[in-house]
Amino acid sequence: MTAVSDHSFGRRLVILIPLAWLVAFVLLPLLVLLAAGFADASRLGGEPLLSLANSMAIAAFTTLIVLAAGYPIAYAIARLPRRWRTLFLALTMLPLGVSLLVRACAWMTVLQRGGPLDRLLMALQVVPAPSGPIGTDAALYIGIVYAYLPLTVLPLYAALSRLDPALIEAAADLGCRPWRTFWRVTLPLSAPGVLAGALLCFIPAAGAFVVPELLGGAQSGMAGPAIWGALFGRNDWGLAAALAAVLACLLIAPAVAFGVQAMRAAEDER
């Protein structure tokens, strides 16, 4: 028996109000965008298509970095005593409350020519003179990793905290070396978290705008700045819509994969 089990007026209202809202302001705009985009699909020449391919490649590459960086963090948090876990999980999530724009500006300050990072590298004698990495690929990758690392840690943590430490102890008791235990036990058991974390990084990274615009410089060649430039720079709505429509289509498969994954995780939870 559910709280409102009959087909009452109230039940219909609870469903219909949000449904009407979502259809009007989420589904309808997306469908209009797809229609407008594919009407102008012939406008997609070499450079716009290249920006889409570029975005996918950069997103894939940074996703690997984010997973490699996020996994040890999630693992360390999952192995903490219970009350410390909540604290460090909150500390990891807190930057998400800070505007992505502000976080990109913070990296602009860190990475500026003669800025803190430059000085550190010069003091360590890694570079001879101030280099100012803003506008380079390195700055772009740092910015994207920084932007989406917290989002990736969350599902990784969820998967790793559910992992029974006794399994790892059992593997060790049976003579399994730590690395082999990781490859044969820990990693396979946390695979759903890895998949969810990878998608949570890949999808927004592929459509990133703020980070490539501010840190990647003019030559980042990603789709986000290309869409922005087509719309606000050249007032070319057709090209912007076509680019966004193709980007959306490229990301639908990963997004659906994420949705299926999230629903499966929610069912396991019950």
Binding site: L30, P95, G207, M263
Partner: protein, 309 residues
């Protein structure tokens, strides 16, 4: 064992350092007296004083705050209803579409969501401004509120509502008296998270607003394109404080809500209060009649002997 714990401490230390050092540098930069962003010229709050004097920025900040208030409130209303529909109403036709539409703005890149709303508004609304941006931000944050509220609804379960209904409460009465008060911290957390998201958004606001409602992030972005200056650091620090405090409060509220709920399960006093609330909802529905202690009196006559007829 030692080696692995050193690895874990290292991973945590490096991770937290990576996450918070840039923020620290930004805050330090905002207190730099020197107008040269690179050289340190001692402590100063002159950039904050300069921000206060900037009328354009003040106006943009007002727009952003009003926008975040409106969007967060609307998103909380729609998002809570959506969470109820998903968590409490069982299967219904179109549930899959419902879920997809709810979470699409969270998963899809902002630039796609922003452009899609721009195309829609351009087709149906002649002038874009505050209200189109508010609609866009509501669409952007509804799913976030729904996730937070739905998580708490699932954790609460339905047994308390069912108990109230067994005692005679109507479904709506049981919800209002039992579930809603327990849900409030999660609803407030969702509102705060939506506020932070809306307050900090650049992309979707840029697409959907007009010249009449320029938001703070749009001003920050315009400044940032010109390069780093201490004044920009100060502006970013203010924005960071607003977003950070909102999210910290959301985390604390959601956490404390979970804690009181868990405590209530074992704490006798809290359980008693809850049961009193439940029986009060039932008592309101009880029909008037003789008190229970006197309800069988009709079986006996004035001499307290059983009536014979």
């Amino acid at each position: 064992m030692r080696k692995s714990s050193a690895f874990r401490v290292g991973a945590l230390g490096l991770g937290m350092g990576f996450l918070y050092l840039p923020i620290l540098v930004l805050v330090l930069g905002s207190f730099n007296a020197s107008s040269d962003a690179v050289a340190w010229g001692g402590w100063s709050t002159r950039w904050y004083a300069q921000l206060r004097g900037d009328a354009l920025l003040r106006e943009a900040a007002m727009v952003s705050v009003r926008l975040a208030l409106a969007a967060a409130s609307a998103a909380t209303l729609v998002g809570t209803l959506a969470a109820l529909a998903l968590a409490r109403l069982g299967p219904f036709r179109g549930k899959a579409v419902f879920g997809v539409a709810l979470y699409a703005p969270l998963v899809m890149p902002e630039i796609v969501i922003g452009l899609s709303l721009l195309v829609l508004f351009a087709a149906f609304i002649t002038e874009r401004g505050f209200w189109t941006a508010a609609i866009a931000h509501t669409a952007m944050t509804t799913g976030l509120v729904a996730i937070v509220v739905q998580a708490r609804l699932v954790a609460l379960g339905q047994s308390l509502d069912e108990a109230a209904m067994d005692l005679g409460a109507s479904p709506l009465g049981a919800f209002a008296a039992i579930t809603l008060p327990l849900l409030l911290p999660a609803i407030a957390a969702g509102w705060l998270a939506a506020f932070a998201l809306s307050f900090g958004d650049l992309v979707i606001a840029s697409f959907t607003t007009g010249a009449s409602a320029i938001t703070l992030p749009m001003r920050v972005f315009a400044e940032a394109r010109l390069g780093v200056r201490p004044q920009l650091d100060a502006l970013c620090t203010v924005m960071m404080a607003v977003g950070g405090i909102a999210v910290m409060a959301a985390v604390l509220l959601f956490g404390s809500g979970a804690a009181t709920f868990k405590k209530k399960r074992i704490d006798a006093k809290g359980r008693r209060r809850l049961m009193e609330r439940i029986s009060a909802t039932g008592a309101a529905k009880a029909s008037p009649g003789p008190r229970a202690a006197e309800s069988q009196d009709f079986l006996y006559d004035d001499d307290v002997l059983p009536r014979s007829e």
